[in-house]
């Protein structure tokens, strides 16, 4: 409980301190989160952004259910077709739709390599509901005559997954590490930050190549542990991005730690973890959210770069980063295949915009200084 020596310095009697603490506990009443949620609901821009993101997430999750063209079906005769608005036709899966004999295996083979049984079920439902109908090439076709629209939708599954997992990973490590470092101060802080400096400078490309060869050599052993290329991909991205996060959080904590409420908490003898999670973390959340919304686009492009090194999604699977990167050759003065670049970039930009607006809204909602003010 309270540290009596410091209480005396503040001119408080132990009984007063107990009373103050009790009052504080009663005052809490409304939790941080429900308060934040209440304020977030008032912010219309943030709210719409959230709806947009939820809708996008649902679309991405239920992609196999949508009446879209097959994202993997190649038709080289119609390569590089510019976007056309037509109602649609009956498609690639026509032969299957006609009779009900389509097997799960055939669906996986025809559609997409990474499909679980739920996805296969979705495809079956889609065939039952929409038959073989599919829209025209609303966003054009790529070099192998595949439909860009459905590739963007299917690619979102990878990109969202990578962005979420990797940035949560970096968030978790970065915030805890940075906050601890800043809070503990002294030689611990110094040591922790110097470790970050070292990790910062180690050429990650070699780390990636090293990991790739490890996966290659110990493939079976690692797969028994559930570690495959995608897991390593998340780890690598998280490992690269937590460093900046840690530095930023530490900087913010340094600024916070001499503030009255932290001093006060220390004075009344709160433990370091309690100070960390109850007082410091909520106060750095706003800056953390902003960093996170800035990190996610970088992560999406970084994933495309890692797949260049051989770590990441394998064709025919795609991600937004890969779609955009593959489209670069399409921007040339001889013939501008703009749809190969513009649509994936737009998908990325609109998602990230929503994410940023939501991030701003969350920042405001979580701001402890705004609590109880509206």
């Amino acid at each position: 409980m309270a540290d009596h020596g410091s209480l005396e310095r503040l001119g408080l009697k132990p009984e007063d301190a107990e009373r103050l603490l009790k009052e504080a506990r009663e005052f809490k009443g409304e939790s941080l989160w429900s308060d934040a949620w209440r304020r977030l609901r008032r912010n219309r821009v943030a709210l719409w952004s959230m709806y947009f993101l939820v809708a996008f997430g649902l679309m991405s999750f239920f992609a196999p259910l949508l009446p879209m063209r097959n994202p993997a079906a190649q038709a080289p005769e119609i390569q590089f077709q510019s976007p056309t608005l037509n109602l649609g036709d009956s498609g690639y899966l026509q032969e299957y739709a006609a009779d009900d004999k389509i097997t799960s295996e055939e669906i996986v083979n025809a559609y997409w390599p990474e499909m679980n049984s739920l996805d296969v079920l979705f495809v079956k439902v889609r065939l039952a509901v929409f038959g073989s109908w599919q829209p025209g090439f609303w966003m054009g076709t790529d070099a192998m005559g595949r439909d860009v629209l459905s590739r963007i939708v299917w690619g979102s599954r990878t990109s969202i997954k990578v962005a979420l997992i990797a940035s949560l990973f970096s968030l978790l490590i970065g915030v805890v590490y940075g906050a601890l470092s800043g809070l503990l101060g002294g030689w611990v802080d110094n040591l922790m930050m110097r470790i970050v400096d070292i990790l910062y400078s180690i050429p990650f490309i070699f780390v990636v190549i090293f990991l790739i060869t490890l996966i290659g050599d110990y493939k079976q052993a690692l797969e028994e542990w559930g570690i495959d290329r995608m897991v390593v991909l998340y780890l690598v991205i998280g490992a690269v991005y937590w460093l900046t996060m840690a530095r930023v959080v530490r900087g913010q904590v340094l600024a916070l730690k001499h503030k009255e409420f932290v001093e006060a908490a220390r004075v009344i003898g709160a433990s370091t973890p309690r100070i960390l999670f109850a007082h410091v973390v909520p106060n750095v959340l706003s800056i953390v959210i902003i960093y996170l919304t800035l990190t996610i686009p970088a992560v999406m492009l970084f994933e495309a770069f890692l797949s260049f090194l051989g770590l990441g999604v394998e064709a025919p699977e795609v991600s937004w980063g890969i779609l955009a990167a593959d489209g670069t050759a399409a921007i040339n003065p001889l013939r501008l295949f703009w749809w190969l670049v513009v649509f994936p970039s737009l998908a990325m930009a609109s998602t990230l915009l929503a994410l940023n607006l939501l991030g701003d809204g969350l920042r405001d909602a979580l701001d402890p200084k705004m609590r109880g003010k509206d």
Binding site: R194, F210, Q252, I287, P333, T351
Partner: protein, 329 residues
């Protein structure tokens, strides 16, 4: 201050050694070497080539040779007699990063000497306009929070972050080179060559900075001392410039350390698109070529840059925020 700097210097030396040790071991333990080619070499020739670069030595000895300045021999520790050992008085510790494996007519010092100024110049230009644009947009956005101006600034900033710079660069090339022939398409040499890559390089940073400025400013503007300043009747402009900006720029400053190190050492993507002979491509190419010395050279250079810039950032922190003491650093 002096204590702070000398302590940082000591830490930098330790970091430098550790980074060099870890990176060196890592590089030499990944698969493929500088001489692995599609056409597999005759073992005798490969042995000759490896011997010429002392790649046949045990790794610890190669590391000592690389760091120098030691006269190491093929057998035992030190060179003696007619043995062709390593050359004395070379090595990283005397500022010699050795010859490049891939670009055999250049030492790593030559390569860095040629490409770093180019990247640095481009980086400084990009950073200056990114700072100018980003900070002013961020402040404007924070002051007019929730207005149309704020929203459109945030839209533009998100665009700058979310649109990959190769996409923006590609379209700008089409626009300003082919449709409106104003600028050269690629290369390095004149001020005109710098405009498009400088713009594209700075764009992402500007967007980032404006977001950070806005957040930082909002944070500060709600604080008591700003309210006090307003209450004292100071002109809003004075409040912002004198009092709020200092604190509001904290997140930007902490971002600037690594960002400047990044921008000075070049951008792979833009260097490829605009064919700029900068440093950025070496980070990736040296790794994929297994050009050990060049990869080590750029890594160590980056280490020193990041480290010094971070020290500057920490110093700037204490200047901007009086509550942070140097002892905390």
């Amino acid at each position: 201050m002096i204590r702070f700097l000398s302590r940082r210097l000591l830490w930098m030396a330790i970091t430098f050694l550790l980074v060099s040790l870890v990176s060196f071991t890592l590089m030499h333990s990944v698969k493929g070497g500088p001489f692995s080619k599609e056409r597999k070499l005759d073992p005798a020739i490969l042995a000759n080539m490896e011997a010429a670069y002392h790649l046949d030595w045990p790794i610890w000895k190669q590391y000592l040779h690389y760091m120098g300045p030691l006269n190491l021999g093929d057998e035992g520790w030190f060179g003696k007699g007619e043995q062709k050992g390593s050359d004395p008085f070379t090595g990283v510790l005397v500022g010699d990063f050795g010859p490049s494996f891939r670009y055999q007519d250049f030492t790593v010092n030559d390569i860095i000497g040629q490409s770093l100024p180019i990247s640095a110049l481009l980086g400084v230009v990009a950073m200056m306009w990114a700072l100018a644009l980003g900070v002013s947009a961020g402040i404007a956005s924070a002051l007019r929070r929730g207005s149309g101006l704020d929203l459109s600034m945030r839209l533009a900033a998100t665009g700058g972050i979310a649109l990959p710079n190769f996409v923006i660069a590609g379209f700008l090339v089409i626009l300003f080179v082919f449709l409106i022939p104003l600028l050269p398409v690629a290369g390095w040499g004149t001020l005109k060559h710098m405009l498009l890559p400088g713009f594209c390089l700075g764009l992402g940073f500007a967007a980032y900075i404006s977001r950070l400025t806005r957040t930082g400013m909002l944070e500060v503007l709600s604080q008591d001392h700003i309210r006090t300043a307003h209450a004292k009747g100071l002109a809003p402009r004075t409040v912002v410039m004198r009092h709020a900006l200092k604190g509001g720029l904290l997140p930007v400053v902490s971002y600037l350390g690594p960002a400047t190190a990044g921008v000075l050492t070049g951008s792979l993507v833009l260097e490829r698109i605009f064919n700029i002979p900068g440093m950025g491509s070496h980070f990736v190419n040296a790794a994929t070529n297994r050009d050990y010395t060049l990869a080590m050279g750029v890594t160590l250079l980056y280490t020193v840059l990041v480290y010094s810039l971070n020290a500057v950032v920490d110093l700037a922190y204490t200047l901007l925020d009086p509550r942070i003491r140097l002892e905390d650093q």
